[in-house]
């Protein structure tokens, strides 16, 4: 086993590797993004790359609450796109941000199904015996999950539906549960329902009067503040081209 024949040769590089943790030179711009942006932001990043081919960008998706915890625990993200502006504001209070949290879109939630005609479904229909499993995102840390819960409470069906709920880690996970048929119905982001794979099926747009607004905010983190590329990308979000993409995915743009 030649690997172990000369352990001395391996020790040096290993030691160096462990000692160079401080060096992160040449890092790409890392974006932490709420899962409702999974497809919209991909398109935006692709567009940005065409204009700035030298900037390396990586996007990591998850629930906004988890992303916030990760940033507090030192995760190396430069920009954070949250599904709820309350999270970036929390980060700001902890002194972990560079820019002021800013609203970039208002989200909507829809009822979507792979097996039923969701266009004809209402929140009240979720109580029917024909529907046994309803997927939503985890309300504890995913804003889209929380809004789904609020909407069901407002519609007076929460108690009846509660026992049928399955919880996704984030809104994309909840959508995937519905897409796979594991859950007959999902309450998911409109932006995801507009994604071609899911757009094959109709959806029912939930009245936004039934829940608090999904005011989506973003912020450049303290770490990203040192990175001109991160600030440049943040600026790009305010352009019309980006707005067009966001609107195409069903987002309402702020005034």
């Amino acid at each position: 086993m030649p690997l172990f024949a000369k352990p001395g040769r391996l020790l040096l590089p290993l030691t160096l590797m462990l000692l160079t943790t401080a060096l992160h030179a040449g890092d790409p711009v890392r974006i932490a993004a709420a899962s409702d942006l999974r497809y919209a932001l991909d398109d935006i990043v692709n567009l940005y790359r065409e204009v700035h081919p030298d900037t390396a960008i990586e996007v990591i998706y998850g629930s906004s609450g988890k992303m916030t915890t990760q940033i507090i625990n030192g995760a190396p993200y430069d920009i954070f796109f949250s599904a709820d502006i309350a999270f970036p504001q929390q980060l700001k209070e902890k002194g972990l941000t560079t820019t002021e949290p800013a609203v970039y879109a208002i989200g909507r939630i829809v009822i979507w199904s792979n097996t039923l005609n969701a266009a004809k479904l209402t929140l009240e229909d979720l109580t029917s015996d024909a529907i046994t499993r309803v997927a939503i995102a985890q309300p504890a840390h995913a804003p889209y999950g929380l809004r789904a819960k609020e909407a069901m409470q407002a519609a007076g069906v929460w108690d009846a539906v509660q026992s049928k709920l399955v919880f996704g880690e984030n809104i994309a996970h909840a959508a995937q549960m519905a897409e796979s048929g594991a859950a007959q119905v999902g309450i998911i982001a409109l932006s995801l329902a507009r994604f071609p794979e899911l757009a094959r099926h109709d959806h029912y747009l939930i009245d936004n009067a039934l829940h608090n607004p999904l005011t989506q905010g973003y912020v450049v983190t303290r770490r990203g503040g040192n990175m001109p590329e991160a600030l440049a990308f943040a600026g790009f979000m305010a352009t019309d081209k980006v707005h067009d993409i966001m609107i195409r995915y069903g987002f309402v743009m702020p005034e």
Binding site: M1, I60, Q176
Partner: protein, 228 residues
Amino acid sequence: MYTFGPAEWQAIDVTLRLCLYTTIILLLLATPLAWWLAKGRSRGRDVVQAIVSLPLVLPPTVLGFYLLVAMGPRGILGKTLEDLGFHHLAFSFEGILIASILYSMPFAVQPLTEAFSHLGRRPVEVASSLGAGAIDRFGTVIFPLTRSGFVVAATLTFAHTMGEFGVILMLGGSIPGETRVLSVLIYDHAEAMNYEAAHSLSLMLLIFAFVTLLVVYSFTRRFQVVRL
């Protein structure tokens, strides 16, 4: 068949580096530890054996949680490192490397402990009486006679590291090129409904795991024959 893109190659690179470093470091650490467990007479052995075996029964989230707490910028380890001018370890490759070393520890220590116990004390005593010092004895007697134990330990460690998910997701997030290993990428692909990619990566891991176990079992069988 789906062809791998940069994200896949990056994850393969991170995964292989993680597995390789974990295996090498763990064998270096596990060898003296397993020797002590197999040959020592101290009463502390049971305690150490239990601690080493904890990852076998502990949910990965428990280890992930404590490591996150310790390694983050506010944790004992992370804060100390930052005070010394280094970066803290959460959400970094070095962080998941440390987690993997802890998490795969029993898979390296147990086969080696088994092999060393099986070896008995006689060959080592003989070699000492013939003038061989400790390192000489390890190279010319202990290692050749327990080689299969090392092969099994290395293979299991490598494969188990590749199969890690919970600890890495919790401690490492899913940062491309840094902490996004294959198992996490498969999770991401499945969540993104990118089933084709998830399928080809999963199939690859499935075949790898099968071949690994095949190697381990054929070696343990030969091991017994050699010992007779």
